[in-house]
Symmetry: D2
């Protein structure tokens, strides 16, 4: 049970990069001489290649990735291999590796999320003036721009990315030099290590450095929120692409059919995204419960921090990528959307009519009551609100004038929601622009690196 | 089941402040005239007093706090009360109230955490040169400054506070003006609202504004991490104050005794802190699971977001405050600490001896082996390492010289861990200074407000 | 923070009943004389009335319900009140109270679930021959009896009830007599206590008796599964009652409308049921995480076991009751169901056609391919499968004969699923009978008590 | 993302056994002829061997284990392979396989737990009369038999096993014959299937059969409780084996030392057991959250039910086995235990003295006060309670007589807790006997199979 080599081997690159930096610092400190240092570095690079190419012979008795590499290095270069561990503890080494692994994972996930956001903005642009009914309580509420809905997802993802960014300053803290718990006893030059490795600051308390796993917990949480964003999007798209709603068609390669029922397109990819968000929540609970139960400083319980972490990294990557494909591949079924709008018998304009009355000076509450009565009246007779005559309108409230029939226009209704963040088309267009610029800048910056 | 008035009444201040701002915006927009606006504002202020003083008559049939206040306002000022709801939706109102409530809660929790950190720094200062054994795997590992341990907790709390700060930019986003989901249809001036209310930016997508609860989830998570920090501290202190460890004595008013066993001081406060962190984890899972299961936009499931939120606020406040009392009231039992150091028969100096040998040119791995043999040798004979003669030392390795006996000094050992973040007393002193300055600046800034 | 009187007062009846039984055992043991015992019992009964009627004066300084009652009893009867605590510990008293409270709560929840199951069976009976499309992946799959779906929920609830029953043998274990941890030191007659109190067996290890809270964890879990059953039912009904599906209409008093949109019936009750299942999951995690972190025996962390427990009891009660109302009040919209069946253009008969071919000797895989081609062919031409001519059928496979048109009958299709547990009407009818008998027996047994 | 073959291949045996039974039922039903059936059965058995020996070629494009085996069977025997799927759905096949896998896993875990319980009873027997202080709040409370503590763990494990047993009646329900959701359409003989496969009853509702995963959730929960039992035991043993407590020594092969610090025996195995219980809690939350979010019937989210299940099976197996080794290998350090008892200065007899006074007719509350004063008096003077003179005793209460000094005997004290479940040695011995008999019967029954 003690061996972790089956899963922590995934950290081999980080372990090797960390050891190379440490070897150089040992050389500066006079513990390795020039030749020894070179032998260590070269040996480690060879081992990295061996592992990458699958030539490395992992053994259970090595227990973990640190020992595996140490053992192999000794086979290759002899005694100098052991000097590499002078003044260094497993306790600090494992968090070094984990932090480095996470730094890279965050970059990748962040990028995947940029692409997903970009896909959404593109579709928002395309469907700026496609009007759909928006739902509250899974009941049609008001007409909005479909672009506005796509942007709504973008905003959630924007905050998800922002959390990932904020997290970096806590993640990119170099623990190396913390020893087992009391700090390096050989006066290693931590600033040199900092220069060699992809960190921004030094940890400033050795006990804390080996005791905390809050960087894993925070990462897990950020991915949980990504998972929830994606799960709710998936839920929407599953419902909207059902035969009964029919607003969206899913791309064939993201659905599953049977040879028997070729017309039944099951939204498997989206269901998996929805399901996988539960998995990430499970991993978060795992690490939280794990850490809650431990005293300071290092405890072997912490070995259990890795599998949930790796699993979450992979899940976040996969789900973001698949959702991007879904968004890119969605087809909007305009006919069905219009049908749905039409089927609501004009009740989607209820707030417009009420606002109209308020504008004519009718007190708010009375306006509401009037509209309620109108809706009921029309509903019972199976007449569409827009087909009631002006005389019928007036029976309910004398404030109605002929222009009431001008209200029954979806674009007009949408455009009356004309505030920052509202669904008026020009507001949505502005927001698309803003979001697009921001994303492009970020994508360019990524590519520049 | 639908009524939420039993718990959401806690939001009355926020609801009233929000409504006052909205009334002013309605006046500007021409929907309320000057007198109506004044009547609304004055009425609301009276209602606020009524609720604060307990004179308000809550009724289940009002269902929620928004309705309660609306109903009462109508009783007081008549029709103008209803106009207040022109163009405003419950969907946006509830998140407005929640966000405002959280803004204040964050301030209070943050302050409590500052005080706790300050208490720790004070104790760290006092115990800079108290040497204790630090534990890994609940086994004595190395001597460190007790101040260094206190600072370790401070560092964890510093990150907890930092997360709270980062969170503000996502929290202080004004949702008012989002309507039911499509945005205000009456062209309310959102920038005016922003000026009146304690927010920093406007939400920029109305669907997102009423659909998301990520601000609650993030808050819950931040408090979970605070809970875990406090739980682990509590665990440490419970163990250290056990009769068997005996390093710490708890203040009488934070322990419980029985009339029968006056000497048995149960660490109830700490156990409750430890237990309450489980409660906060439960609340986080509650809100995560809740949100994961919902499509966009608003769903009534969201009513269930409040009790876990309020409970977490109260728990975070209480636990931080109690832990501060614990830290302030702890007595360090120097005698027992020294006894514990002494009992380890010098093995706490094992790394010092190994480092000594490495410095004398002995290869690292050989040095380690030598020390291992020495420890075993001394252990079997029941001799303290420091009491072995130089001849005995030399039997194990010729590199030992007389100065080896100079190693057996705790302060000396501690001071050899002389790197940034190490336990060398001057390093700890520096870090205390840095932390103290930072905290004082923050506390002053708080007080200035 | 230490006081629990705000929530544990809920246990007053159990505390008093337990104390009465203990007083009698003390009398038998000779520690209370006859008069003292009578005074204690009478005093406790008066206190019970005081609390029930709201006349009792709870004080924070009493800390918990045990102390409150003890203090009041002393005020009433003097010294004998204190004797009541001879040889009894708070550690055993609290689990006694909790177990007794749970025994009653289980009875009530069980009963509520019986009623819900009964409601489902009644509706199943009524809709035995209403044919609906059943969904997999939220896509129409096959025609089934609506009664069959209602029974599916019943089966899940049956297992939920069964778990509750199995749990009783672990719950109804009397801890009284366990002392603080070592067992009663005054030789109290535990068998007498067992006779006086609603338990079935004696706990057989005093350390275990005060250390475990597995009875709370198991109860929480059982309620979580009930919550998930109800949440999934709620999800189904929310979707089926959407305008787009339209199969079900919700009773007015379980939906919410606005004065503005009287036609928009929001399924608030169901959304709350769905949401509240998250709450119960949160409570389960709370107690699991709490217990995981503690050593044997009693720790004050355990004080935190009560609020989650009480909350879960109330939630399970409420949700079961509301769901029963929903089930009783649902109206099935036969027209919309038929429309939905019709809209699928005969593809719901795809498996029937394939089975037909297999019966004519066509190999399974070929039959499947043929049907796939037929569905595609018909779909592209917008023809219903049942409207294809026999010549068209034969073009795809020579095995088709005229009787193929006899397949297109929903009842016929349903009846071909003629196995135990299948949707053939006679199978469903049998199962309704079986379930009905079982429920009636249980309900009668309940009423008999 | 859709492929599950990487993990569901673990179900190959179950899938093959299920298919063999199904082939035989198809033969009886006349869909396979005798030769075809034999070919299918033989082919499947060959495939089973191929997989077991590692000769099987898994391909990602097969997606899952069902498809992999189907594909291979077709390669081997041609067309008859396809007939095997007549009237069978993936939806029922996957739950069949999962249930069968779980039936076997439960057997194995149950057995491991029997062995652990047996180990505990053996140690209890051995240490029946070893007296240790038992802790509440991690503070010494009373003397008890160490055997009594070992039995306490046994009782928790007994309930854990009992839950596993209760679960079987819900687990061993055969879903085969449920089709995609509506039940088999080819009239397969489900009772024949039941005879061929390790189940006890038939599922009685096809929709329920493919929709529910409560058997996975219940299994996860049972393992969570096992995990919590083991975690709390681990916590106890970690603390008791610390140098400061020193009651227990861990076997060398279950601890980790470093070459540097051979005396520092880290309890890694126990820390991992403690940590792994968090992992199982995570898996439970995973599956709960997953299921809560889905409507009836089958959804692809369910693919995510397997990895958490497999992980929990493996974890429960490993942790039980390791804990058994720990229990078997523990050494009790009698000297340190006695020292701990002695160090408490007689205060462990406080309840004995109070009981003594009560027996002499002193009212309970006065007795308590007296003892409290005595303890304080002795504590302040550093005198052991047993060393106070009779005159000193009498100063506090005239009821003391010379026999008070007879109280200070640990065995005597323990034996005064003489009730069912108490720590009196004869009570513990009885309970050991009872538990031993029960376990031996169960183990014999296992072995007989």
């Amino acid at each position: 049970m003690n061996a972790s080599i089956d899963f922590d081997r995934r950290l081999y690159r980080e372990d090797i990069r960390g050891s190379i930096a440490y070897a150089k610092a040992l050389e500066k400190r006079g513990i390795l001489d020039r030749n020894e240092c070179r032998a260590v570095v070269d040996g480690l690079l060879v081992i990295e290649r061996e592992i990458t190419t699958g030539a490395f012979d992992f053994r259970v008795e090595d227990e973990d990735i640190h020992m595996s590499i140490e053992r192999r290095l000794f086979e290759k270069i002899g005694a100098a291999a052991h000097k590499l561990h002078t003044g260094r503890s497993r306790n600090e080494q494992v968090v070094l590796d984990e932090r480095m692994h996470l730094i890279e994972a965050c970059e990748s996930i962040y990028e995947k999320m940029l692409f997903l956001s970009k896909a959404l903005v593109d579709r928002a642009k395309e469907h700026l003036s496609t009007i759909i009914p928006i739902y509250t309580h899974l009941r049609k509420a008001q007409p909005v721009s479909l672009g506005h809905l796509f942007l709504a997802y973008c905003h959630a993802l924007e905050r998800d990315r922002e959390r990932m960014k904020d997290f970096q300053k806590r993640l990119r803290v170099l623990p190396l030099g913390s020893g087992a718990a009391a700090g390096s006893s050989i006066g290693i030059d931590r600033n040199q290590l900092l220069k060699e490795l992809p960190f921004e600051t030094l940890s400033r308390n050795s006990i804390d450095a080996v005791s905390t796993r809050d960087f894993i917990m925070e990462f897990e949480f950020i991915c949980v929120l990504i998972g929830i964003t994606l799960s709710r999007m998936a839920e929407d798209i599953i419902i909207y692409s059902s035969e009964e709603f029919g607003f969206l068609d899913l791309p064939d390669d993201l659905t599953t059919t049977s040879s028997l029922l070729p017309q039944k397109k099951n939204p498997d990819s989206l269901e998996l995204i929805r399901g996988k968000s539960a998995r990430v929540i499970g991993s978060l609970v795992w690490i939280l419960t794990l850490m809650k139960g431990t005293p300071y400083t290092y405890n072997r319980d912490f070995q259990e921090d890795k599998e949930c972490l790796f699993d979450t990294i992979d899940t976040a990557m996969k789900c973001s990528a698949v959702m991007t494909e879904v968004v890119n591949g969605l087809r909007v079924n305009g006919e069905r959307v219009e049908e749905a709008l039409g089927r609501s018998g004009g009740t989607l304009f209820a707030t417009d009519i009420a606002d109209y009355l308020v504008d004519k000076g009718v007190p708010f509450r009375e306006a509401h009551r009037t509209v309620g009565e109108l809706v009921r009246f029309a509903g019972e007779r199976g007449i569409d609100l827009k087909d009631l005559t002006i005389e019928q309108y007036r029976k309910f409230n004398g404030a109605f004038e002929k222009d009431v029939h001008g209200l029954f226009d979806y674009i007009g209704s949408v455009n009356r929601h004309d505030v920052v963040g509202g669904t008026a088309l020009k507001r949505v267009a502005e927001e698309i622009k803003r979001m697009e610029n921001k994303l492009e800048k970020e994508i360019q910056a990524k590519n520049a690196r």
